[in-house]
Symmetry: C2
Subunit: 245 residues, 2 copies
DNA sequence: CCCCGATATTGACCATTGGTCAATATCGGA
DNA sequence: TCCGATATTGACCAATGGTCAATATCGGGG
């Protein structure tokens, strides 16, 4: 290995180190409750060194978020390989989303952070594009199954475009996750198991879209069981009481 | 009027002035892109004076948000007076929500800001409680109609609690609003009219919940027309093409 | 093994800004 | 008009994201 090759590798390793620690900080303490000095200390480098890798604190955090988003897209991709009725397949994506939420607790707070403030504009164009790309990947994987549902005749295609259907599924999922974070909401709505609530709302939306077989006409707990066996054997979370009738 | 009474009134007027300008700043420039010095300049007082009214920048912004939330709750209350089938009545709340969104464009960004960061803990306990109270008011007004729907037999009550149903409605609405803010999402999902999308997703969720009469079995455009006439005659937004069949 | 130019790393320093408080201005009653 | 009380101010402080001249490290050639 040449010297320059080794340097490139070392640089990449250091970036990895920084990203790993930053992720820990972000998840545990949000965006405000730590500073670049502390992060530098945690990875045993000077503050200036961090800025050799990232243009700003926001840029660094966007990089962390993008890596997590890529993991999610990867899970979506695995879920896409599930076979069966199209509604079973979209359910696999919903499962992947919850698998992600469980293995990255509080990650939705990071996602929220990206939406507020002037985050976006303080990050590098390259990183912005990388994030959008992973986001688009997630959207596309859902969209493909929606289109297939329409082709298969499981999902009505006369009232809504496939894009609108996809948007509805994304919206209900994101909304459920976000509202689940709210302690007051959890209390007042009696949410004991956020994940179960998210999946339930996804089911309701699918029913509302008329995506057959409807919840009442199919044993989706069996689908979940097969899903675990075939695609996510290492799923880290316990299936809650199923919403299937 | 006594001297002390006048002073109280003047103080209240100044607080109003500050809140008004802060709201303009918040909506137009987010949280970061202005500072307390600038706000002080805008209202022709010194920075220190702002801190006689608010404990921190976050406290001030929470106050702004709470006033807006109260306006929303007020709209919900008006909507609650609409008569008809329970699903028509919940539709009135959805209408109110969109009415609010239209007359306060970009307010959802402010709402998002509250969810992220360490906002909450930098605000006064009093203001936190005020905000929660208005939030609870919104929730309760929806919840009342949900319970009535169950009592009336329009909405199944064997599978889900009334609280879970309310949560689902809130989640789909918040999720739709938030995702509508995302320019990239709007583009990729082909969202041309965010408000229409929000209402459509609310309709889908209601259908999924089995809230009768279903979208296909009722002329909800007539409901909307009556709603405008009876409750929101001054509605500032144009009804999009209805989603009713 | 040493030397030197190139490269990598550092942390003192800067600018911004949320927040404080001693100094100052204003007020209102005697 | 004067004085004590109250209201207002803006210079100042501390924290922190970001910069860059100074320093340390590296590695190849003699």
């Amino acid at each position: 290995m040449s010297v320059s090759e080794r340097k490139v590798q070392e640089r990449a390793a250091r970036e990895e180190l920084i990203l790993g620690h930053a992720r820990g900080f972000l998840l545990r303490r949000g965006f405000q409750d730590w500073n670049m000095e502390q992060l530098a200390g945690a990875v045993n480098y000077a503050k200036g060194t961090l800025y050799l890798h990232f243009e700003s604190k926001e840029d660094l955090c966007l990089a962390v978020a993008t890596r997590a988003l890529r993991e999610r897209a990867d899970l979506f991709e695995r879920a896409s390989r599930f076979t069966g009725r199209t509604r079973e397949r979209i359910r696999a994506i919903g499962f992947a989303c919850c698998e992600f939420a469980c293995s990255h607790p509080d990650y939705f707070k990071v996602e929220l952070m990206l939406k507020s403030a002037s985050f976006w504009e303080k990050a590098t164009e390259t990183r912005r594009q990388a994030h959008q790309m992973e986001g688009a990947r997630c959207f596309r994987l859902v969209h493909e199954i929606v289109k297939e549902g329409m082709r298969a005749g499981d999902l009505p295609h006369d009232r809504m475009t496939s894009e609108s259907v996809t948007f509805a599924l994304v919206a209900v999922t994101v909304g459920s996750h976000i509202m689940s974070l709210e302690p007051a909401m959890k209390l007042v709505a009696g949410i004991d198991d956020p994940i179960r609530t998210v999946r339930q709302n996804q089911d309701l939306m699918c029913d509302g879209l008329g995506w057959r077989p409807l919840l009442a006409d199919w044993d989706y707990s069996a689908t979940d069981a097969r899903l675990r066996r075939e695609i996510f054997p290492t799923a880290t979370w316990c299936e809650p009481v199923t919403t299937a009738g």
